[in-house]
C-alpha cells in the first residue's frame, strides 16, 4: 500500500466512510462483515480481505475517523454468535469524507477543463465515476 500523505485518505478509507455512513443511517452503527458486504454489493466486487479491512478499520479508529465499541454480551449470547465490534463514523470522519469528495471533484473538473487531447481521453475515463460519490486520495 502506498504511503499516506498528511491529511489524505486512501481510496479504501473513502469507501469505508461512505458505506459506513450508509449503514449507520439505517442501523445506528456497523460491524466489519456488514461493511465488507456493503462494499462488495456497492462496487460489485469480491468481499474485502480480512487483513485489508481490519487493518484499515483499526487505523481509522486510531486516527479518530471512526469510533468503536464492543457489543454487549447479552444480545450476542441470545443469538448464539460472537460479539461484534461496532463502529460509527465520527464528525471528523464525515468531514474528511466531504473534503475527499470536494478534492476528487476538483481534480475531475480540472482534467475536464484541460484543452489537450490527453485530457479529453482522461475525461472519458473519469466522468462515469461522477455519477457515484466521487473518491479522492487528497483531503
Amino acid at each position: 500500500m502506498p504511503r499516506r500523505r498528511p491529511g489524505s485518505l486512501f481510496p479504501l478509507e473513502v469507501d469505508i466512510l461512505d458505506s459506513g455512513l450508509t449503514l449507520q443511517a439505517s442501523d445506528g452503527s456497523f460491524y466489519g462483515f456488514a461493511l465488507a458486504k456493503q462494499l462488495a454489493e456497492r462496487d460489485g466486487t469480491a468481499l474485502t480481505a480480512h487483513g485489508t479491512l481490519y487493518k484499515a478499520l483499526s487505523r481509522m479508529t486510531d486516527s479518530g475517523l471512526l469510533e468503536s465499541t464492543w457489543e454487549d454480551a447479552a444480545p450476542a449470547a441470545v443469538d448464539g454468535r460472537p460479539r461484534r465490534r461496532l463502529y460509527t463514523v465520527t464528525a471528523e470522519g464525515s468531514l474528511a469524507l466531504s473534503r475527499a469528495r470536494v478534492a476528487e471533484l476538483a481534480t475531475a473538473t480540472s482534467i475536464a477543463a484541460a484543452p489537450s487531447s490527453t485530457s479529453v481521453s482522461a475525461v472519458t475515463t473519469v466522468s462515469p465515476t461522477l455519477s457515484t460519490p466521487p473518491r479522492a486520495t487528497l483531503v
Binding site: 474485502t48 481490519y54 461484534r84
Partner: protein, 247 residues
C-alpha cells in the same frame, strides 16, 4: 445443508483462525485479543450470510480462504507495525523476548537431535535383535529405551515456556547417556562407528567433548530459564500503556 454446520466451512474457519493466532502472537495481548475476536465474528457472520444467500458450503469455504489469503500482506504489515511499536515501547524487553525465542529454538533443536539419535540406535538394536545378531533385553538397550523416553518427556517440557526450565534439566541425563551408550552400542552394530573408534585419532576426546558440549548447553539453558522469584505486585514497576492496534 447449512453452511455453518458443514465441514468445509469449519475447515476454512480453523485455518483462518490458526493463521490469525500466528500473526497475533508476540504482540500486545489486548490488541491481539481484539483482532482475534473481530475475525471470529467476521467468520461467523460470513457463514450466516452464506446460508441466507443459499451459497454452497464449498463455495463459502473458498471465499473465506480467499479473503484470508488476499489479506496476508496486510496482516503481515500490521504484525510488523505492532512488533515495532512494542519494541519502541520496551526495547530491552523486546530484545529479551527475541533472545529467548532464539535460545528456545536452538535448545529444542538440540534435544530433538539427541532424541533422534536415541531412536536411531534403538531401531538398529531392534533390527539386530530381529536378525538374531544380539540378544534381546540387554542392560544397555533397556537403559537406552529409558533415556529415549526421558528425552521425549524433556522435549514435551521444552515445548511450553512455563516448563522449559524443567525440560532443560531433564535433557541433561539423556544428553550424556544417549550419546555415550548409543555410541557404545553402535560399536557392536555399526561397521562405520567401529572403524571410526579404532581409526580416527582423538575419537575418545571428540566423543567426550561432544557429551560435555551437550551437557553445558542444557545446563546453560536451565540457568537461562531459571524461574524468577515472585515479586509483590506493589513493587512491580508500571508497565507501558497498551498501544493502539493500528498499523
Amino acid at each position: 445443508m447449512s453452511v455453518l454446520k458443514s465441514m468445509p466451512y469449519h475447515h476454512a474457519v480453523r485455518r483462518v483462525s490458526g493463521w490469525c493466532a500466528w500473526y497475533t502472537s508476540g504482540i500486545d495481548a489486548q490488541v491481539a485479543g481484539r483482532r482475534r475476536d473481530e475475525i471470529a465474528s467476521d467468520l461467523y457472520e460470513h457463514g450466516v450470510w452464506a446460508d441466507d444467500a443459499g451459497e454452497s458450503p464449498r463455495a463459502t469455504a473458498r471465499e473465506i480462504l480467499g479473503r484470508a489469503i488476499r489479506g496476508v500482506p496486510a496482516d503481515l504489515g500490521w504484525r510488523h507495525a505492532q512488533r515495532r511499536q512494542l519494541a519502541l515501547a520496551d526495547p530491552f524487553g523486546f530484545r529479551m523476548r527475541q533472545a529467548n525465542g532464539v535460545v528456545a529454538t536452538l535448545v529444542i533443536l538440540l534435544a530433538a537431535v539427541v532424541t533422534g539419535f536415541g531412536l536411531y540406535v534403538l531401531t538398529r538394536v531392534a533390527s539386530s535383535v530381529v536378525a538374531g545378531e544380539i540378544r534381546a533385553g540387554s542392560a544397555t538397550a533397556l537403559t537406552l529405551i529409558a533415556l529415549t523416553a526421558l528425552a521425549l518427556g524433556g522435549i514435551a517440557l521444552l515445548a511450553s515456556p512455563r516448563t522449559r526450565f524443567g525440560g532443560a534439566l531433564v535433557m541433561i541425563a539423556p544428553g550424556i547417556g544417549l550419546v555415550h551408550l548409543g555410541l557404545y552400542q553402535l560399536y557392536s552394530l555399526s561397521a562405520t562407528v567401529g572403524t571410526l573408534m579404532f581409526g580416527m585419532p582423538g575419537w575418545s576426546l571428540a566423543s567426550r567433548g561432544l557429551i560435555a558440549g551437550i551437557t553445558v548447553c542444557f545446563v546453560a539453558a536451565a540457568i537461562w530459564w531459571w524461574p524468577e522469584k515472585r515479586v509483590h505486585a506493589s513493587r512491580t514497576p508500571a508497565l507501558p500503556q497498551p498501544i493502539g492496534d493500528s498499523a
